[in-house]
């Protein structure tokens, strides 16, 4: 039965064309891969393959440039918004976006993040928030939840010692230079579709010169969290979503 279904004419879903055959280095079940797919799909759907200049962060997504076949600039840790600022200002007709994790965007790069947003740079920022430093082995991030255990807060984040989880997107939503701030996830097919819609909106805003758009994707880091991919999704729904509720914070 399935043999006559498997025919190019019946294909409804496959790996995006812009995503190459390099096997991704991410851990099994990592949210990065899903977001990468969405970006690759949207760039092609918008016909922007030749007009895209992407800016990669330092963190797990440092090698994003190995997977999506557009031009990439790999920025120093936290500096992607500054890099993207210049790329966009010098190439105003291009799609310029940054792809950053929570440590990159909300710790070491906080100044660059806030000032690029405040200038209303016509860029999009995809922000992966999994509450942990994945690449360096699971240390505390600015977005680590209270009582959440990491390698550098092995007894759980103590707010007296480490301060509070930083809701950076809430701050960014206050800035007049920002036109879109939304918090999404990719743990279910429905969530993936919603996130895709919002990333597309962010890219459209950037091309239309409406100011900066930030799409936060509340994500899992099953290696850092020391849970299976499925259990990570459950943990995220139970613990991350109350702290980082999904939905649009700003959409004008």
């Amino acid at each position: 039965m399935s043999n006559n279904i498997i025919d190019p004419a019946n294909m409804i879903y496959t790996k995006p064309e812009l995503m190459n055959d390099n096997q991704m280095h991410y851990c099994p079940g990592c949210s990065h891969g899903v977001v990468h797919k969405l970006i690759a799909e949207i760039i092609d759907e918008m016909g922007l393959r030749e007009k895209t200049i992407a800016v990669a962060p330092v963190g797990c997504a440092v090698f994003a440039y190995n997977y999506i076949d557009v031009d990439w600039v790999e920025a120093a840790h936290g500096r992607a918004p500054a890099v993207a600022t210049a790329v966009k200002r010098l190439n105003p007709d291009k799609l310029v976006f940054t792809y950053q994790g929570d440590g990159d965007l909300a710790a070491i790069g906080t100044a660059e993040t806030i000032h690029a947003a405040n200038r209303g740079e016509n860029i999009a920022t995809i922000f992966i928030n999994n509450g942990i430093y994945g690449m360096t082995g699971g240390q505390m991030a600015p977005t680590t939840l209270e009582h959440m255990k990491t390698a550098t807060c092995p007894n759980g984040r103590d707010i007296h010692l480490n301060g509070y989880p930083l809701k950076i997107t809430d701050l960014l939503a206050q800035l007049p230079g920002v036109c879109l701030v939304t918090r999404q996830s990719v743990h279910t097919a429905a969530a993936v579709k919603k996130t895709k819609k919002m990333i597309r909106k962010a890219f459209e805003n950037a091309m239309e010169g409406k100011g900066e758009s930030i799409v936060e994707v509340v994500s899992t880091c099953n290696s850092g969290w020391k849970l299976s991919p499925a259990a990570s999704n459950d943990w995220m729904v139970e613990n991350m979503f109350p702290a980082y509720p999904l939905g649009d914070l700003k959409n004008i």
């Binding site: 498997i6 790996k15 096997q23 891969g33 999704n233």
Partner: protein, 76 residues
């Protein structure tokens, strides 16, 4: 009555056996290979109950490694 039938093809070598497609499937079509592994040693996903597939592509959407291709056909 027309019925929608689906089929899933897994790129075995890209699959990391994360199991998220198995969970996302509403029809209990997929499973990780209980014994066989790919070149990287992962128990990859396969269609355990191919007849049940409705081609909803939920498995594809949530797959982090872009290893799933989904087909769908109306069958009279």
């Amino acid at each position: 009555m027309a019925k929608v039938k689906g089929a899933v093809v897994v790129n075995v070598e890209r699959c990391k056996g994360c199991n998220l497609c198995v969970i996302a499937c509403p029809s209990d079509v997929l499973e990780l290979q209980p014994r066989e592994v790919n070149d990287k040693g992962y128990h990859y996903a396969y269609m355990k109950n191919p007849e049940e597939c409705i081609g909803c592509a939920n498995c594809g959407y949530v797959c982090p490694d872009a290893c799933i291709t989904v087909y769908r056909k109306k069958i009279d």
